[in-house]
Symmetry: C2
Subunit: 237 residues, 2 copies
DNA sequence: GTCTATAGCCAGATAGAC
DNA sequence: GTCTATCTGGCTATAGAC
């Protein structure tokens, strides 16, 4: 790679970064459904056709934003995991949950892009799934750790049909996790994001909005739902 | 009301119904953010300005769709309550949850309008809250019934801060429900819709999508989270 | 890599005829 | 209550000059 090439490559990546930055801004203003290359170009002082050198279509730009956002929140989750290595599994679970909520609160429009209404007419390409799976894999890492340590205890039986489906999913993911635990973990994953969506999308407006206590309490209880032991200092119940 | 007036009023209501029907169709095609009076008019064989006799703006049409959808799913929930009067509280809880899921699966775009990403630039007027509260009130009716019968037993303690917030909310709603139970019920409400959103918005694609067993199992466990007794036939645990 | 120009669309909202 | 006409703006995408 010649120096000249390196410079050009760098300039190109900086332009791409600027486009995505402005596109994220547009996301907040108009929403993903109305994301327009023209508006982005206008704000950047460019003409719309110039952007086609960087993104061949609006949908490709959207895909880049989605992958970036999944990676950003996934990195937060993984960082929380790394920062709590060796701690009690329940503490790790809560740390991941809080990390996701913290990111979501700071980036509500990107959260909506990932977990809100799908953009009509847009089909997420296969390449988004790797980034999307980082959060569930982080949560499953905690559950698997508890299972491997022999301390995973589901608070109640899972229906046989759901456990069977969980078994298939765990096998496909290559996880050493019983089907019932896998099913409960998937439920807890969806339920966790239900709390976030309600908070961010306004369903809790006027009642439990923006309450750390409310969320932490729910997230901790979800940890118990998936079979994690009670945190240290709390007796069994 | 003269007969002539009655006829005109009826024609007006039929036109309004046709507009809303077509608008719901547009919702499915383009999404709420792009709902356009022009497209609705075009499909109805009208010119766009004609619609302004019925809805003064795009947002008013959106509000009507939102209220209608909240009422539709609220009616389903209340019908499930009415149909299970006298049955075990856990069965009633599950019946309401299943009813909501059934409606959501049949009307995914209206579900998205209510529980998905808020429409950018649209502010829901106060009048939507009455209809929006029908679902949580139906769920709370089950929990309150159990509490009144003296059979409500939370599976674990709620954090004091969350319980305090729950107490305030219960007081505001005029419900005879302890703060900790109110908090758990609100959590379960959000968690229930988290399962639905994940299912409808595609997060479960490839794993637990469209699984009755998975949802029923989760919904039943949520009933236990809010303190409902185990269904008849199952022993205590 | 950015520009102008263009084709072919779309929208919300209002004025005024009938 | 519906129409035509209009204003004012928006969009994706491409062709071809520089």
């Amino acid at each position: 790679m010649t120096p000249a090439r390196g410079v050009r490559e760098r300039a190109r990546h900086e332009t791409i970064a600027a486009i995505k930055r402005e596109a994220r801004h547009q996301l907040a203003l108009e929403g993903a459904a109305k994301l327009s290359l023209r508006a982005v170009a206008r704000e950047l002082g460019l003409v719309s056709s110039a952007l086609y050198r960087y993104f061949p279509s609006r949908d490709e730009l959207l895909t880049a934003l989605i992958v970036d956002a999944y990676d950003a929140v996934g990195e937060v989750a993984e960082a929380r995991l790394a920062a709590t290595e060796g701690e009690h599994v329940s503490a790790r679970w809560l740390a991941v949950a809080r990390g996701v909520r913290h990111w979501a609160a700071a980036h509500p429009h990107e959260y909506a892009l990932l977990y809100g209404t799908p953009v009509p007419g847009y089909r997420a390409p296969q390449e988004t799934t790797r980034a999307a799976s980082r959060i569930p894999l982080a949560l499953l890492a905690v559950v698997t750790e508890a299972h491997t340590a022999g301390v995973l205890r589901l608070p109640g039986p899972v229906s046989p049909a759901a456990a069977r489906e969980g078994e298939a999913v765990a096998a496909r993911l290559g996880l050493d996790l019983p089907g019932d635990a896998m099913a409960r973990a998937a439920q807890a994953w969806g339920q966790l994001f239900g709390l976030l969506s309600f908070e961010l999308f306004g369903q809790y407006t006027g009642s439990f909005e923006r309450s750390d206590a409310f969320f932490d309490d729910a997230a901790a209880e979800l940890g118990r739902l998936v079979g994690l032991p009670a945190p240290e200092g709390e007796g069994p119940r």
